[in-house]
């Protein structure tokens, strides 16, 4: 416990821990000291001088964002001298800020504008020095960099270093100083991963999203927080609407979104979205009414004799639950399969309770990290950030990846298995743990597994026995997690085995999936194949694109777009996207997280469509509202969450080919064509409290 320091700020006493900065001490009693370069969560640079305060007994003004509190200090945050100095600094900033608040996107949310108003600053006091050579748009995709508005606070430089690739810095000197990349290259050629973290911290209108331009002023924005739906790491995301349309997304409390979360929302308002039901008429699909489409679907499925359902990983628990209930209640089928996009999720039900699942917080706090799989950093930038933070804090990182990668470069140990031998390598590490007596013999289930593991031959993974032994030694002790973008059944079960052997049972396994709710299908559906069913209902999944075309007499497809599967369907129903749905998901840490309908939609809620279809079939669902569905979903998840167990370590079949997460390609430098972001995503919203189902 740090020593407490008592001081006076503007005459008010305040007691804070030793080491606190004056600015934060003031904030703790509600006194806001103006600042432009300081940003909470980033290292302070003390360069803008706007946060200067007067300390009694000191002749010079002090920089309150970097100066620590001292016992008995008497601070004045708004004395005449302080205000004079602040005005002077703002006047100087205005002498190079070629801004016009009447047309600036940032108006209303601009710190410079606010302080200029608060302090009644004379903007024109020193004239404007802004040579024509300073560009107003550097032409990057997705975001505009208007250096004529830059006030050189350096926040973006620090944000980029802390959260992303560190590609920005102050270049040149004196009046020619600009913030840009090495050799002033375009962002796309500088290693930028377009997370937009720089935009979030810019105090002025220098950095703005291109998509929001001329779509509305900040004070017109209506904001709803939700969960980003582009992977299962559960970053909070705020969706800003202006005039009923999405104009921007930005990070929630977590302070970080990757390029998909930040810029990948255009699919929501795409013209290609399905907005009305379609029914087959000979060779073509024709738009029709909901009543007609639901009647056709109900009749077709009921008449098919045997019905199977397929549901994708990017819908809420409620949608999965209502879907399963619809098939069971209305069509007498227990056959609901879950399609995870090429991932054998059905097998995961043998695999470990929800408690074993880790979230980014577990990774950031870990001391030992085993990161498995290709394109992990590129495909899941939030996982990359978590791993990097842990490593910066002293964690040991073991990377299992046949290729060189960003993570391999910071790894304590980089193991390069031959292609497809990841699982074999994990088995070998497990055996090395046991052979070296590094395992935790006390842990549950270990004693029974040991004899079989001792018997195992060492599978050939193309990695030297010394490296394997070193990995086992490194990983054996301390808070450890396994993060894997390789989602084969073999890799995941061996990962679970390693965790079991080392006695890690909570918050230890993080399988990375490019969808928001990959566990729901496992937890909420019976898990069946659909083999032999005559009627198939595919919701939020495109088996044709995955190379597994459904073979059915009658096919109903419910999705965001007219997918390949939908083109074959007898009835096509529109689907609300993840960001448009209220409900819950099973988040990365095994927690049940509530999401909001953050994006606008004219469609009925997904559960409502399913309930209407049940009505059309004459066998209504037992739900009157989304609350009923939520309660039912929660009950099912609670019932199964504890019944899952770790599998054993032994077993063959190590040759399964990895199907890595398909790498996200940066958009072409033409910012207009920017919809390469995977369609399958969705965004959702979290507003409500997080309930820990796992606990």
């Amino acid at each position: 416990m740090a020593k407490e320091i008592t001081l006076h700020i503007d005459g008010q006493p305040v007691t804070v821990p030793e080491g606190t900065k004056i600015l934060q001490a003031a904030e703790s009693i509600g006194i806001e000291i103006p600042r432009l370069c300081y940003f909470e969560g980033l290292p302070a640079s003390g360069s803008c001088r706007l946060c200067l305060v007067e300390i009694e007994g000191q002749s010079r003004l002090a920089v309150s964002c970097t100066q620590r509190v001292k016992e008995g200090m008497a601070v004045l945050t708004a004395s005449d001298r302080v205000l004079r100095s602040r005005r002077f600094i703002l006047e100087l900033i205005w002498s190079t800020h070629d801004g016009d608040c009447t047309t600036c996107e940032k108006a209303g949310a601009c710190d410079l504008q606010r302080y200029t108003y608060d302090l009644d600053v004379d903007k024109e006091k020193y004239g404007l020095y802004a040579p024509d050579e300073i560009p107003s748009d550097l032409g990057d995709p997705l975001l505009e960099r208007n250096l004529r508005l830059c006030i050189l606070c350096g926040r973006c430089i620090r944000a980029c270093r802390e959260k992303s690739q560190g590609i920005l810095d102050f270049m040149e000197r004196g009046m020619s100083t600009i913030v840009t990349t090495s050799l002033n290259r375009p962002l796309a050629e500088s290693g930028c991963d377009f997370c937009g973290s720089c935009i979030e911290v810019c105090p002025v209108g220098c950095l703005v999203e291109r998509d929001r331009k001329l779509r509305g002023r900040e004070w017109e924005f209506e904001s709803v927080e939700t969960l980003c739906g582009h992977c299962n790491l559960g970053c909070t995301q705020v969706i800003d609407l202006a005039h009923g349309e999405i104009v921007r997304t930005r990070p929630g409390a977590d302070g970080y979104l990757c390029v998909r979360g930040k810029f990948g929302w255009d699919y929501l308002s795409s013209d290609d979205r399905l907005t009305a039901p379609l029914v087959r008429n000979g060779d073509s699909l024709q738009e029709t009414t909901w009543a007609e489409a639901l009647a056709r679907a109900a009749e077709g499925l009921a008449g098919a004799g045997s019905v199977a359902g397929l549901v994708g990983p990017n819908v809420t628990n409620e949608t999965v639950k209502a879907f399963g209930e619809l098939l069971a209640t209305s069509f007498g089928s227990q056959d609901v399969g879950f399609t995870g996009g090429g991932v054998p999720f059905g097998a995961l039900s043998t695999f470990g309770g929800l408690k074993a699942l880790a979230g980014v917080g577990d990774v950031e706090k870990a001391k030992k990290i085993l990161a498995i799989g290709p394109s992990l950093a590129e495909g899941f930038p939030r996982a990359r950030l978590a791993i990097k933070r842990a490593v910066d804090a002293g964690a040991k990182l073991i990377v299992v990846d046949p290729n060189e990668s960003e993570l391999a470069a910071i790894a304590t140990l980089h193991l390069k298995p031959k292609a497809g031998a990841e699982a074999a390598l994990l088995t070998a590490i497990g055996k090395a743990l046991v052979d070296g007596d590094l395992h935790n013999a006390e842990a549950e289930g270990v004693a029974e597994a040991i004899p079989a593991i001792r018997e195992l031959g060492v599978p050939d993974a193309g990695v030297s026995p010394e490296a394997i032994a070193e990995a086992a030694k490194l990983f054996a002790k301390g808070k450890g997690v396994v993060v894997s973008s390789a989602l084969t059944c073999d890799v995941l079960s061996r990962s679970a085995g390693l965790l079991m052997l080392t006695g890690r049972k909570k918050g230890a396994l993080l399988p990375l999936h490019p969808s928001a709710n990959p566990w729901a299908g496992v937890l909420l559906s019976a898990g069946a194949s659909g083999d032999g069913a005559k009627g198939i209902y595919a919701l939020g999944t495109d088996p044709v694109a995955a190379g597994e075309p459904p073979n059915a007499d009658f096919l109903v497809v419910q999705d965001l777009f007219l997918t390949k599967t939908a083109e074959m369907a007898d009835v096509v129903l529109p689907l609300r996207a993840f960001a448009e749905e209220e409900g819950t998901v099973v988040g990365a840490g095994g927690k049940l997280i509530a999401v909001n309908a953050a994006a606008p939609s004219d469609l009925p809620a997904n559960w409502q469509i399913l309930a209407d279809l049940a009505d059309a079939a004459g066998k209504p669902l037992p739900y009157k509202s989304i609350r009923d569905v939520r309660a039912a979903a929660k009950e099912t998840i609670s019932a199964v969450k504890g019944s899952l167990a770790f599998p054993s370590m032994n077993g063959a079949g190590d040759s399964e080919e990895l199907r890595p997460y398909e790498r996200f390609e940066l958009p072409e430098p033409s910012w207009v064509a920017r919809s390469q972001i995977r369609r399958g995503g969705s965004a959702a919203g979290v507003s409500e409290a997080k309930e820990e189902v796992a606990a």
Binding site: I157, R161, Q165, G166, I167, L168, D169, F170, M171, E172, R173, S176, I178, T180, T181, S182, L183, N184, R185, S190
Partner: protein, 176 residues
């Protein structure tokens, strides 16, 4: 960023780069506060701050390459593009200005076909202006590769340029 326009063309192979950088990196390994000295040595070795060398130096120092460019672009002593075999400097300080520097500069620009800060396509000449060389008594001052020319030599500049230009390029001068 006039001087930082960025020449992407690099004719150096990765192996050669590593070999030429190794002694420089070894000399500064583990030393704090050595970025400027290190960059000076890199420039000495390559004639300018070769972009791939910058990336390798950044990796070795575990710093973002942007940080190195941030430091280097602060100083006028660092160059981001290849320079000519002959660096011709025209002093434009007060004394030289009065003694006719603008006319000399204009003549050199015309004869070399480049402006101040630029390098000829054949990588033979770089023309620069400097603020003072420190020998105002000799004004107007022109120097070639840091050797100050006397008045007699200055009169022979045109002929010298033609001779240099006609000379066959050697491998040292690089193909461009």
């Amino acid at each position: 960023m006039a001087g930082v326009a960025g020449s992407e063309a690099t004719t150096i192979s990765a192996a050669e780069l590593t070999e030429r950088l190794a002694p420089i990196l070894a000399e500064y390994a583990g030393k704090d506060g050595a970025v400027i000295s290190l960059l000076q040595d890199v420039q000495e070795e390559f004639g300018f701050l070769e972009p791939s060398a910058m990336t390798d130096v950044a990796d070795a120092l575990d710093l973002p390459v942007s940080h190195l460019y941030g430091v280097a672009s602060f100083y006028s002593q660092f160059y981001f593009e290849p320079r000519g075999k002959n660096v011709v400097k025209v002093c434009t300080g007060t004394a030289c200005h009065i003694r006719g520097a603008p006319a000399i500069q204009a003549r050199l620009e015309e004869q070399l076909g480049i402006g101040p800060g630029e390098t000829t396509a054949d990588l033979k000449f770089t023309l620069e202006t400097v603020n003072c060389v420190g020998c105002c008594a000799l004004a107007p001052v022109v120097s070639i590769n840091d050797r100050v020319l006397n008045r007699r030599e200055q009169r022979k500049l045109k002929g010298w340029i033609q001779t240099e230009r006609a000379e066959e390029p050697t491998s040292q001068e690089g193909a461009s």
